[in-house]
């Protein structure tokens, strides 16, 4: 293998047969320190078509997608051929659109810089107006209403959806013929996902070649024309989406598709008398700088019984996490009472006793951020038992190891540093850490969003096992994903900070009463329509 980078191949080398294709990758191989990230990848992006790359996290999707932009990880050895028709610009919509928006500049800053270069031929006095007109058109093409006002805002004043559309508008203004969208729906609720699907479909309808990197198989099925299934840096299978869904040829594709099948719902538990956790008249506020406090959550009553699992669902920003944080003592600014086994819990985690701390445990969405990067995972997991239950170090380590193994981690993995574990492994470790406190209530805040389907399935199965094995423990699942909510006995629905509906899971899922729950169900159903793999539910 040579150490040269021949990705900047001359353009116009395409033969007549390839005329239609606006971007092409041939035999791409990317290697860092002898570790192969991507190997032998072929990809053709056709105008007006959506090409999807699917696969678990770390399968090389992003590396392949970024190769189209000419961006590679630092220190990478790259061979192969990446060709973009007429060297046209390639647009990029990253998973976190806020990361490419300059926090110190208004939305108009980059748009203006792009537009300026396009109006150079005009007389000087007409340039400004022409550039502005182009910017406004790009924003409205990206389905952003009220573009005038938007231009003078800062990125942090926009919602996540608006940020995504602004980044899209940048690509449209640039005149990109290929747009790479990296995990555009990951961590989004059903309504947002369906909006993004429409958005990307509209891009393809404009004749743009969309390269979609995603592990959201519902979205891939709804959008993609051509699908490439990746595993460990290789394309294991590719073909039209219908064929792939109907008759997957590769074992891995089958696994990916099967992992989507929904878990079986639980029958509601018989009413067992006293609730382990009881919330009454909870009103939580957020201090908002000088403006004062805004009420973000109102929960008249919510109870969690021993051995029961409760899913709290709702769109992003509806106060689900705030509710969980109130229970865990992480959000102090609230009225109302939270009772644990009939006794009131102190509002702040600082005023809770060790036993009270151990009783309510919290598992965060971002497992990586929840671990100290300098200490082995096992030590950090064991520490919970030492701190909260006064166990001695040796038996704590023993218990940590047993718990980690029972959650599916390999013994040798547990001695590694968090950076050497995958997202799914770390989330299991975070679960184990919470379990070592022997909690009465385990709160899981979006612990599967951001994971690919196979990993998510694994975590959800682990949770199901936990509920079965620890019959005295109650589980609270914070999620925007109705698939995950199916796992629970009961579901509570939050909309704009109000608890709009709660009841047994099968009742909420089959005959929702509140209009918001109905719309949430319908959107999910629409995304899932006809996407069921053969043999699944």
């Amino acid at each position: 293998m040579t150490d040269r980078n021949d990705t900047t191949a001359p353009t116009g080398a395409g033969t007549d047969a390839e005329l239609a294709c606006v971007a092409e990758i041939r035999d791409l191989r990317v290697e860092i320190d002898g570790r192969v990230i991507v190997d032998g990848v072929q990809l053709r992006a056709l105008p007006g078509k959506v090409t999807a790359l699917v696969g678990a996290s770390g399968s090389g999707k992003t590396t392949t997608g970024l190769a189209l932009l000419g961006a590679y990880p630092s220190g990478a050895r790259v061979t192969g051929d990446v060709r973009v028709a007429a060297d046209g610009p390639v647009g990029y919509v990253p998973q976190h659109p806020a990361s490419v928006l300059n926090p110190a500049r208004r939305v108009s800053a980059l748009l203006n810089d792009i537009a300026r270069t396009q109006v150079r031929d005009l007389p000087r006095n007409q340039r400004r107006a022409a550039a502005r007109e182009r910017m406004l058109r790009a924003l409205s093409d990206a389905q952003l209403p009220d573009a005038e006002a938007l231009l003078s805002r800062y990125p942090h004043q926009l919602s996540g959806g608006q940020q995504q559309r602004v980044v899209l508008a940048q690509a449209l203004l640039l005149g990109a013929r290929v747009i790479v969208a990296d995990e555009p729906t990951t961590g989004q609720d059903a309504l947002t996902r369906s909006r993004i699907v429409d958005q990307l479909a509209a891009l393809a309808a404009r004749g743009i070649a969309v390269v979609l990197l995603s592990h959201d198989l519902d979205v891939v099925h709804a959008l993609a024309d051509e699908v490439l299934v990746m595993r460990a840096g290789r394309v294991v299978e590719s073909g039209p989406v219908q064929r792939l869904w109907r008759a997957p040829r590769h074992e891995w594709t089958r696994q990916l598709l099967d992992a989507r099948s929904s878990p079986t719902g639980h029958e509601p538990l018989p009413d067992t008398g006293q609730a382990v956790l009881h919330v009454r008249h909870l009103t939580a506020r957020h201090r908002d700088g000088a403006i004062g406090a805004t009420v973000v959550l109102r929960t008249p009553e919510l109870a969690l019984h021993p051995g029961e699992s409760l899913a709290v669902v709702g769109r992003s920003g509806t106060g689900k996490t705030t509710l969980a944080r109130c229970l865990a003592g992480l959000h102090r600014d609230h009225d109302g009472q939270v009772h644990l086994d009939g006794t009131p819990l102190p509002r702040s985690v600082r005023h809770r006793s060790r036993a009270e701390l151990a009783a309510v445990q919290y598992v965060f969405q971002d497992a990586r951020a929840a671990f100290d990067e300098h200490r082995p995972v096992l030590d950090q997991v064991a520490r919970t038992a030492v701190r909260l239950r006064g166990t001695d170090h040796l038996s704590a380590a023993q218990e940590a190891l047993t718990t980690l193994i029972s959650l599916g981690l390999r013994p040798e993995t547990t001695h590694r540093l968090p950076s050497e574990l995958s997202g799914g492994e770390l989330q299991r470790a975070a679960l184990a850490r919470a379990l070592l406190a022997r909690p009465r209530v385990l709160i899981c805040d979006e612990i599967t969003s951001g994971l690919d389907t196979v990993t998510r399935r694994g975590i959800l199965d682990a949770l199901t096992d936990l509920l079965r094995d620890r019959s005295d423990m109650s589980l609270m699942l914070i999620t925007h994903d109705l698939e995950t909510a199916r796992l629970a006995h009961r579901i509570a629905v939050l909309d704009a900070g109000e608890l709009v509906e709660q009841g047994p899971a099968h009742r909420i899922l089959t005959e929702p009463r509140h209009p918001f729950t109905v719309s949430l169900m319908e959107t999910t159903a629409r995304l899932e329509a006809e996407t069921a793999p053969p043999g699944a539910w």
Binding site: L69, S99, P103, L110, D113, T117, Q170, G289, A290
Partner: protein
């Protein structure tokens, strides 16, 4: 915008409280010092009877709270009171001392801003390469030298050995602008450390900003290198530098005692030094008020600029 206005109002009120606290503290500390203006004036022959007479003449025999209350009442009408030793109005002292200090500060800032930001951006642009390592090590080395040491060194070399520049501003009074040669060394000494800290801050901010995804994104979409550097990356690197700049201006305006003493410049620092030596409490208090207000206003200004540069961080009072 109402949020910003109430932030400014709250900061102003807090600033008034802080200034009052500084004045009270300064008054209490000068009272606690052994001896007073009468003792200082009596000089080498401390005759108790003479001291008592002086004390009575200076109204120092009255209780401390009365003197403070009288002075504070005068301040409300804009009257800083009069020096106990000379009887001249304190405002006269302040006006005389402010000229040279302001001149030095203005000249220093005028050179500091382009030099600090320029060096910082230059180093960040060549991160890890020779230019960066040169600038980084040089700024660290110069920063490590205290003002008095650098001042003595420069005076020794350029004034005493080479005789190119006057060693001090003695004899020029407050008309320093007429003798620019006398200003060169003081400004150089004042510049030395702030340039280094500012350049290092700007460099660190720029290195981060240039590697940030938004800068990469702008470059990817065909925005030119200089434009990415100055229009997209620099605004993000400015916020901490602006705070540092405000502290530096504050430091300069409050009279840099070491430099003024070294070059015999009759600025606010010299006024303060003399007033403390003479236990001239009204002058010290007047200076404390001026310094307090300057500090509050400059920091508020810096916070507003930083808020404009990093709007996401919000305003934290």
């Amino acid at each position: 915008m109402t949020g910003l206005r109430s932030f400014v109002t709250r900061r102003m009120l807090l600033g008034v409280v802080q200034t009052v606290a500084v004045v009270l503290l300064v008054f209490a500390l000068t009272e606690a010092l052994p001896g007073d203006a009468a003792v200082a004036l009596a000089g080498d022959q401390p005759d108790p009877a003479r001291i008592a007479a002086l004390r009575e003449a200076m109204h120092l025999d009255r209780p401390a709270y009365e003197r403070l209350a009288e002075w504070a009442a005068g301040l409300l009408h804009g009257d800083f009171g009069a020096s106990v030793t000379s009887g001249r109005p304190v405002s006269q002292y302040l006006a005389d001392g402010f000229g040279p200090t302001l001149l030095l500060a203005a000249l220093t800032v005028a050179l500091l801003v382009p030099a600090g930001f320029g060096l910082g951006v230059l180093a960040a642009r060549h991160e890890g390469r020779l230019v960066d390592r040169l600038i980084s090590s040089l700024t660290l080395a110069v920063y490590a030298v205290p003002e008095f040491a650098l001042g003595v060194l420069l005076v020794t070399v350029f004034a005493l050995r080479l005789d190119w520049l006057p060693p001090t501003a003695v004899g020029y009074g407050t008309d320093l602008l007429g003798h620019p040669a006398a200003l060169l060394l003081p400004v150089l000494v004042l510049l030395s450390r702030p340039v280094c800290s500012l350049a290092r801050l700007v460099r660190a901010g720029m290195v981060d900003a240039l590697a940030a995804p938004y800068a990469v994104h702008a470059r990817r979409y065909g925005v030119g290198g200089a434009r990415v550097r100055y229009a997209h990356a620099l605004p993000n690197a400015l916020a901490p530098a602006v705070q540092q700049l405000a502290r530096t201006i504050d430091w300069l305006l409050c009279g840099v005692i070491v430099v003024e003493a070294l070059f015999v410049i009759p600025g606010l620092g010299t006024v303060l030094l003399n007033a403390v030596a003479e236990r001239d409490v009204p002058v010290v208090q007047g200076l404390a008020v001026v310094f307090g207000v300057l500090t509050v206003v400059l920091n508020l200004g810096a916070d507003l600029v930083a808020h404009r540069l990093a709007p996401r961080a919000g305003v934290a009072a």
